[in-house]
Structure formats: structure tokens, C-alpha cells
Symmetry: C2
Subunit: 204 residues, 2 copies
């Protein structure tokens, strides 16, 4: 057995993710990655067959972590199943806690890739849409549970309401980055939570 390549591979992924956040994927050259990591071209192409393969590995990892976080929050709120609205609100609260206090805008590759789609394989882009659809499914379920015991004060479309969570996440990422301040995601998730809180009223 030769030496351990994992630290190198990890370094490539961490630094290239940061570079993509600054320059976009097309705007990030392999030479830049080499400079930032201090490794050589041989090492890079040993770990990733092509630049696109790196892109795929990065988004795969991101999506995996994203859904993992989602499921963790889902698990953490399982004890609140008795009151489905309380559970929904606490589910959002988990992410408010997670995102609050971030000094820098959250590095979201979803939006980054989405705005230069031709640079990636279809499968790479699918990780993004699948991830969003998983969020949609989870939120739909949580909302359906709520609607068993609560009425909505306004007529709502469940799917669009489910998607609204991802919309708030992604929008907050974009605005945080554009304004170059700290991450605002927690603040905007609070508005989403408020919305849910105000919208539903217990059935009599």
C-alpha cells in the first residue's frame, strides 16, 4: 500500500469550493486550485479525472450534507409530533440556530452551479434539483400533518408553500453575498417561521 491520499483530496475539495464561491466554476482554473492547495497537476488529475468530475464530487458532497442536516432536524423534532405546528416551527428553528451567528455569507453551491448550468453534466445538476425536491417532499409532509389539526387562514397551495422554504434559503444566500455583509439567512428564516405561525389556527 502506498501513502494516504485522503488529506490531498480533501484539501482540493475545500479550496476549490472556496475558489468557486469567489470566481464561479468557469472562472476558477485548475492552476488556481494548485496554487491554493500547494499540490501539483499530477496529484490533481490523479484524484479527479476532469474538472467536471471535481464539480460533480463537490455538489454530491454538498447535497448529501444538506439532506443529512435536514433529516437531523427532522429527527430532533420528532418528540413534537403531538402538535404538528409546533413541530414545523421547531424544525425551522433548528436552522435558525444553525445559521445564526455566521459571520460570512453561507457558501451555497446550488445557486452557483445554477447560474452557469452549461458547465456541468446533467447528473451534476440533478443533485441540485433532487435535493430541492427532497426538501419539497419533507415540507409537504410536515404541512399536511399541520393541516390535519389546523386550518389555514388563507387558501394555500401546499407544494408552493413547501418550496417557499428553499426559496427563502436561496434568496437569503444571494442577498447576503450581494450585500457583502454577514449571513442574513437566520433573519429571513425567522420571517418564514412567523408566516407559518400566523397562518395556521387550531381547528375547533
Amino acid at each position: 500500500m502506498g501513502r494516504d491520499g485522503k488529506p490531498t483530496r480533501d484539501k482540493i475539495m475545500i479550496e476549490s469550493k472556496a475558489l468557486i464561491f469567489e470566481n464561479g466554476f468557469s472562472g476558477t482554473s485548475i492552476d488556481q486550485i494548485l496554487q491554493r492547495t500547494g499540490i501539483t497537476k499530477g496529484a490533481f488529475f490523479y484524484h479527479f479525472k476532469t474538472k467536471r468530475a471535481l464539480a460533480k464530487a463537490l455538489i454530491q458532497e454538498s447535497a448529501k450534507e444538506d439532506i443529512l442536516h435536514m433529516n437531523e432536524a427532522l429527527e430532533k423534532t420528532k418528540h413534537l409530533q403531538g402538535d404538528p405546528l409546533e413541530r414545523l416551527l421547531q424544525f425551522i428553528q433548528e436552522f435558525i440556530d444553525m445559521m445564526s451567528g455566521l459571520s460570512e455569507p453561507f457558501n451555497c453551491l446550488y445557486a452557483s452551479y445554477t447560474y452557469e448550468p452549461s458547465q456541468f453534466d446533467q447528473k451534476t445538476l440533478q443533485y441540485i434539483s433532487e435535493s430541492m425536491l427532497t426538501w419539497r417532499g419533507t415540507m409537504e409532509q410536515l404541512l399536511m400533518e399541520v393541516l390535519k389539526e389546523y386550518n389555514a387562514k388563507t387558501e394555500i397551495d401546499i407544494q408552493s408553500m413547501a418550496d417557499h422554504t428553499v426559496v427563502v434559503f436561496e434568496g437569503a444566500f444571494v442577498v447576503s453575498k450581494a450585500l457583502k455583509g454577514k449571513d442574513l439567512t437566520a433573519d429571513h428564516l425567522k420571517h418564514l417561521k412567523n408566516y407559518f405561525q400566523l397562518l395556521f389556527i387550531k381547528k375547533t
Copy 2:
């Protein structure tokens, strides 16, 4: 009077905007623009000194139109000043009407540029942040008027609530594009409108 260059310049701007939406800015080459417009390199560099100058012109135009639309909606709802909440809701409704029925995702350059910031001059990026801050200012004013006659059911931060509108816009653009369906912005603006509607209650 020499010959009129406006049609050429317009064609460059229209086609390059479409290309940036597909490939990102870095991913869009000048040769691609030439191919798509059918003009030559000489003509391109006659109108734009550099590729970055094109980027600047594009975002300048987008921002100008954006703020113009905002002010038009503001003007259209002036007759509702008597009831500031009614006005705020109608202000949002104007954009719901504007965005509903779009078959393709709305081509928003703000997010596109934001995710490869190193490719642009600071002034170019400033058009984006200034535009967002103009939105913030307008929304803050509308909300302040509302708070004179209404109480908020939940304690809210006006600035973050003002920003929330831009967040919903940008988030809806990202999700629409990522899911490759039709534009979902109108749907999500409806949620924003619902939120405002539910949040405020007339002072006694």
C-alpha cells in the same frame, strides 16, 4: 451623421445576456457572442472596449429597469396611501401580476454576477447592491407607514422585513431555474403578500 450603431449594440446586449444566463459570464466567450449575433470582432470591440465593459453595461441597464419597475408600481399604488397596508399589499400584487404567466425562469443577472464576483469591477457589483438597497429603502418606507396605523402581531425588525422582499424575489429566481420549470416568482410573492396581510392588525 454617420451610420446608426444602436441595432448592433442592442443585439449584442440581448444575446450576451441570454448567453450569460446559460453559461455564466466567465463561461461566455466573445466568439460565442459573435456567432450568436452574426457580427464581427471589430464591431464588438467598437461598441465595448472590453468584455468587462459589456458586463457593466448589462447590469447597469438591468438595475435601471428594475428600479424603474419598482417606482412604477409605487406610483400605481399612490391612490391607496389612505390605507398604508392596502397599499403595501397592492404594491406586491403589481409584481405578482407582472411575473405571473412567465413560461421561462426570469433572467436575473444580480444572482448570476453575485456568484462570480471576482470577474467584475467593483462599480459593476455596486449597481447590484445599490439596487437592493434602494428596494430596502422603499420597503422600509412602506412598512413605516403601515406601522403608524397597524400593530405587528410579532415583533419585527423593519430592515430585515424590508430585505425579505428581495430575498423572496431572488430565491424564487434560483429555484425556478434550478428546477427547470416555469417561473415560480409570482407564487412566492403571494406568500410574501399573505405574510404581510397576516402580520398586521389595525390599531384600535
